[in-house]
Symmetry: D2
Subunit: 342 residues, 4 copies
């Protein structure tokens, strides 16, 4: 069976695993008060050019998203998200469970918000006579890459950031698959750009070569105050916090994080080229490690016998889009094998 | 100044006020354990043909809505509402503050849900492979009349109810202005129909002639269990519960509730006829006590000098819709006076 | 039947009722944007010598308490309360339902906190190495009079206030029965003292002569920011807000509020004197309008046939304490009648 | 430096680590739908003699506790816990953040609840006329071993279970350090006893030899229904769920879990014997892997130079209790080294 189901099917990339093995019998204090977390924090601050940033290591993406909303939004505030945003659609209502509305805007080009629709919404809200009866937009949430693998351009991100700053609303970037965005040449956004244009973001680990875990970064330490107790309260903190710290310490040593991304991007491009050569079309243009390929339903049924993947959505009576995902470890041989089946 | 701003500008209708005066020095137990609440409950049960219904008296509409969602929805469930639904738009996020998502569907014809869009949504949810990551639809919320004054027909309500029962999801009707629906000849829905087709609903008091207060009705007592503690916890319960009981006892004696409705409907129709005769058009066809009249902006500015009303929305560069509202006490003379100004 | 059950068995005091009648057909804007609320706010500010205080009118005491905790406490903070505090014991968990712990300290002398026990707790919390894993005390809650009818002295309140200010924690006073404290000569605390020593408090209406409603006062407007949306979200705001405003406007005209208190205190003292003369003892020394009288169980059973009251607690195998409550309207004749039965 | 600080300072026991290494490049579906979770579930069911039990793997103990309270308690219910219970004291208010009160009872003998105090509380609650205004006890929470290392006897657990079943309230056992209880000869309680006497419990991994993770067990699948979405919503679910499954699969193969416990118990006993021989006394009698040794403050200061441990509490002006903790890997040489320092 060839696996193109998702990018969290394997364990950790070799260097991360090796580090876990080497440090296994070290004895450190719990809850992040260990030298690995400290070192990882410093490396991330440096990679982001944010020497004062607060950095926290949490156990998963839904945890990070819900914790950020819980910690940052004030009562009666909600978060603007594209309809396809992970928080709006795929987290079992985790944000609402913290008491906050997800204000869903349509989005464009594969699940991206644009500055205009955000500005229009904020303007209309502020102009409404009854604004005090309406949920106040208190954050803007985007994913990069999006759930459909799309990427913001630097210019798009700058415009979004400008709107948010004009209206004094924090811009939050969910980087569950950030390694794949950083490794793609379809966008010119760097990690430093993100740290300078966004107010809060997280660097995804679990889907990008870590065993598990995500790194939450808040460039301006004044934005939120200390979040230790909140993260503890939400159960998002590991007693053995060092497990997360040493993984990110490794990922941010010698460019491993982006290197993990590049394998996925390289194999995805190879697959996209092969698919185009065979005449397949895509739901949205391929940009990162997720390809949404349109196939006829009979072909999909046939393919399922030898390949694992997700059925994404029905396109018309006869055709559907399937999702094919590569990752930090996908071998080129798998791409070749898959292409021979198509 | 002529007041057409809303239907909660005055106090209580005369009979309700008289009852409050007469009973003022009676001494009764608190928290609903008084004979007035008991009598009001019996009258409402009879008016609904639901001898076993649970009936609770709460202090306001947002309270009722949020309490119902809190009490009835299970974790990870949300409530389907039209985009224009009061819970989605005008309650400062009260439902989300109880931990639940409002799943907004477009709606039709002045803020109504129809059976097809609800069924399509439920079907798609159940068919999604990843349904366990998606908020489960656990209730359907409608208003009757809607926020735009529109009315369901009996047939439309039957179809909605049938979908909900097929999918075993409670149908909840917000009747903040129910007196005006019951008094209108634009729909054939009776209170008994509502009690038989909906699983939960509330009979609005504050906008329909009560001093304040709303009556929550749950026809099948097995649906929710006893809600006393939940209502208490949410602060929706008056210590002097009898104040609410005796108002509804009065409103449901000798048809006062519908009579209150009829004055508003009669004057609204008189106003609508006058407006049509003068060539005005409406955002949606007038059906109850709220008229959404399209006027040019200059005229609106002029009118504001002598009439209070809400600006509803901009229609185009030169014209807007204003809302004119009548109530249980609007005198015909006010309609005549208003028409001479237009 | 003689009623000594509680102080919320009747409607409104005559002047409040009269005002409701007179203003019934006035037309005002909703949600507190009316001249009555404005006037009541000014009168309360004046009575408190707090010209800038924020004043909000809410529908009930549990609502006020839960809304204050929700609005003021930060995540991971709790509220210190005596074990017998209303929020700890009699509100169905309303504070916890807003996500916050009630940190219960033993209390003394009929449910009062003293400065020493609060200081000891705060000191120990700050000294704990693991404080970040422990709920942070973020408010101190007291009632005056307490649930047992006890009163703070001015000196006790000053000491409590000093601890709270030293630790920068707001002091919140629940004044559900404040009229009875202000009218009692057992304490020297005035309303102005409360406004100067507490950071948040509410002036009880429902138990002190209003038909219903409570007035929340925040002397320093910078403490909380505007609470309109939060109060709306929690359903604690009346659409016809003026109903609350005009009641407090009346209560704070010509000293009516304290006058209401004095009738209850006068009749309670008359009753206490009579009971003492007959040899009865009390659970705690009588101070306000609630008397906790110790009687043998047989006598209690006999008394129930002609008097309504609450059984408070068992004292020993043969005796229990019952609660007898007077109010703004208790006639002296009722005291005499009761005493003849004892 | 000798480490006796806590039992979560190291990584994973060798067999668990080896298993993580061997399976690292396996490709499995996410969110627990993998063969390792399935196998671990079966092994746990067998070890508990509960063939139908629901078993979930979560990322941490606070997560498990808060998720259980959130999922199982109904609105207006709280959980009975000893004052020293982890949920009451050391989880930053995680339970209250789910909306529920922790009802703290004094406890006995090192943080244990006994059947009598639970029964007395439940009886008094049910007898209170105003019970509907009081938080309803909806669960009983115990830890085994307790936070002070104490153990229930089988008889004590049977009595507690009997009270809970008489009152139809689930009994929940927090087994963060369960391996150490199972390995101790100070109690006769087996895992099967726990599964038969408790309604919900969790088997601690992180402190007992796993890299991280805890296994929640619900012997009767009818008690809660499926918790998948709730665990997802709370962010307690790993995308790479198999990481947790394969750890517990390993721990429950060939008795590894109890073997891990035995090393800690053996070294703790060796340490306790040595301390007794030197004349030290204990805060409570040593029973598991946590020893609370009373020392004079000067000696504590001296010891800190070469040993890491927690200061637990002040005993009197000159003496304090310190906590010394052993674990699955503590070498006997460390005990000997520590004893020579004392």
């Amino acid at each position: 069976m060839l696996n193109f189901e998702c990018d969290y099917m394997k364990g950790a990339c070799p260097a991360v695993l090796q580090r876990l093995i080497e440090t296994n019998m070290d004895e450190t204090l719990g809850y992040g008060a260990d030298p690995y977390c400290q070192s990882a924090t410093e490396r991330i601050r440096e990679a982001c050019s944010c020497p004062d940033a607060r950095v926290y290591f949490l156990t998963g993406g839904t945890q990070v998203n819900a914790t950020v909303m819980y910690a940052v939004l004030r009562h009666c505030q909600g978060v603007i998200s594209p309809v396809t945003g992970h928080i709006n659609h795929h987290e079992s209502g985790a944000v609402e469970a913290t008491g906050h509305k997800v204000i869903a805007l349509p989005g464009h080009d594969g699940g991206k918000l644009n500055a205009k629709e955000v500005r229009d919404y904020l303007k209309a809200y502020r102009a409404d006579e009854n604004y005090a009866h309406i949920v106040e937009p208190g954050m803007v949430y985007i994913t990069h890459p999006t759930e459909l693998g799309a990427l913001y351009t630097l210019n798009e991100l700058k415009e979004l950031s400008a709107v948010c700053r004009e209206y004094r609303i924090p811009l939050y970037l969910d980087g569950a698959r950030l390694a794949y965005a950083l490794a793609s040449d379809k966008t010119d956004i760097t990690l430093k750009d993100i740290a300078s244009l966004c107010d809060i973001f997280y660097i995804g680990g679990a889907k990008c070569g870590a065993l598990f875990g995500e790194a939450l970064v808040i460039p301006d330490p004044g934005l939120t105050g200390e979040l230790f107790s909140i993260i503890k309260q939400r159960g998002a903190m590991l007693a053995k916090g060092r497990l997360l710290g040493l993984q990110f310490d490794t990922l941010f040593t010698d460019g491993l994080y982006e290197r993990n991304g590049r394998n996925a991007i390289g194999t995805a491009e190879m697959l996209a080229d092969g698919l185009k050569a065979k005449g397949y079309s895509f739901l949205i243009p391929p940009q990162t490690n997720q390809l949404f390929v349109i196939m006829d339903n009979a072909g999909i049924g046939q393919l399922r016998k030898e390949v694992s993947f997700s059925l994404w959505e029905h396109v018309d009576a006869d055709r559907s889009a399937i999702r094919l995902v590569t990752d930090w470890a996908t071998p080129k041989a798998d791409i070749e094998a898959l292409l021979t089946l198509l």
